[in-house]
């Protein structure tokens, strides 16, 4: 083993990782080579000196400073979590309120619709048809009650849009049931 080979394998030699035969060769070279012995001695002395250096200590402010930074780290995370959770909670609340409100409106509307078109009522109302005197009916007006009939008013003169008087007859009139509340 020459000096180059020894230097190449020096790390494994010092760490005891060389194969037994190579280790013997390295030891033999070290014994016979002054330059490599000086090199080996310099490295070992330097490493001993390096390892004997006092450990660098932390300043007194390290702990409090780290504590502040970690609190800041958590403070950054907490609003984010709070914002997300608050946003989700708000959305859920709005959705719930909206659903309840929609449900109430729907139920009222359907109730009114059912009430409007029920066939019987406790409060009979008069129903006027044509020239007849309104008579009481115990039913609510229905869409079928809205019908057109022919009205022949006496001495009524109608004017058309052109200004010509026409007979009052055949003027269509929409008969609307007279409805008023109360018994």
């Amino acid at each position: 083993m020459n000096c180059c080979e020894f230097r190449e394998k020096y790390s494994d030699f010092t760490d005891g990782l060389l194969a037994p035969r190579e280790g013997l060769e390295a030891n033999a070279h070290l014994s016979g080579c002054a330059a490599c012995r000086r090199f080996d001695a310099a490295l070992r002395t330097g490493l001993d000196a390096l390892r004997s250096l006092p450990s660098v200590g932390l300043s007194h402010g390290f702990g409090p400073s780290l504590r502040r930074r970690l609190r800041g780290e958590f403070a950054i995370r907490l609003p984010v979590m709070a914002r997300w959770s608050g946003a989700v909670g708000t959305l859920l609340l709005v959705a719930t309120v909206g659903f309840i409100g929609w449900d109430l409106l729907e139920s009222r509307a359907s109730h009114r619709e059912r009430a409007a078109w029920s066939t019987t009522t406790d409060n009979p109302v008069p129903v006027a048809v044509g020239d007849q005197v309104p008579t009481y009916s115990n039913r609510r007006p229905s869409p079928a009650d809205l019908r057109f009939t022919t009205f022949h008013p006496l001495n009524s003169i109608l004017e058309t849009e052109a200004g010509r008087p026409t007979a009052a007859g055949d003027r269509p009139r929409l008969d609307v049931p007279a409805v008023w509340g109360g018994p």
């Binding site: 020096y10 790390s11 330059a35 090199f39 330097g46 000196a49 660098v56 200590g57 970690l70 907490l78």
Partner: protein
């Protein structure tokens, strides 16, 4: 990470709780993830000085090293819930520290002149023949003894960055080759090669000042 974790912050800097002092790192990590806030204090206590010395020996600036150690713990705190607990916590912590130290050195080398000198020094260190030249100059013994500490520190700081990290991890932190490979992200052969180069360079720098 629960709100209860924040309680642990108050414990920083104080003596670690007795229940955690006898636990392995993995158990302490699990205790922290389970919501036992004081466990993070135990991790800080265990690694703060070791990481400080490693980073200081790598970057050469004590104040900056302390800032970087804080940054290491911030990152650990931030990402501990994603740490693969099948791996060693020590290796993970040193990996973060190593990356921060290398970033620090790279940021310093942004100066064009410094960058050129760094590149040249790295190239020389990788390609210089492994020959040991005996110098005839012998500094004063008193000077050597009085300034040995400074000399050794300067020798380490003169090592190229990629040699220095491996050298400090091996010679000062006592990491195995496998751990160094994992920390630095290099394969085993590269670690051995860089360590060998680092040792030769260290010896070449320091030898003229020693008997």
């Amino acid at each position: 990470m629960t709100l209860a974790v924040r309680e642990g912050v108050r414990g920083l800097g104080h003596a670690p709780s007795a229940p955690f002092a006898d636990l392995e790192d993995a158990q302490v990590v699990q205790a922290f993830l389970d919501g036992r806030d004081r466990a993070f204090d135990e991790l800080v206590t265990r690694y703060q000085t070791r990481l400080l010395n490693f980073i200081y020996r790598t970057v050469g600036d004590r104040e900056r090293a302390e800032d970087l150690v804080q940054e290491v713990f911030i990152r650990i705190y931030r990402h501990l819930h994603r740490f693969d607990q099948t791996k060693k916590f020590s290796t993970w912590a040193y990996t973060i520290a190593s990356n921060l130290a290398k970033n620090e050195l790279r940021n310093r080398s942004r100066n064009p002149l410094v960058l050129f000198q760094t590149i040249k020094r790295n190239w020389d260190a990788d390609h210089r023949p492994l020959q040991f030249e005996d110098s005839s100059s012998r500094p004063d013994d008193l000077f050597r003894k009085r300034h040995l500490r400074e000399l050794v520190e300067q020798s380490v700081s003169q090592l190229p960055e990629h040699h220095r990290v491996v050298f400090v991890l091996r010679e000062l932190e006592g990491k195995t080759y496998e751990e160094i490979a994992e920390i630095t992200g290099c394969n085993l052969g590269t670690v051995k090669s860089r360590l060998n180069r680092a040792r030769n360079n260290f010896a070449a720098i320091i030898a003229p000042h020693l008997d």
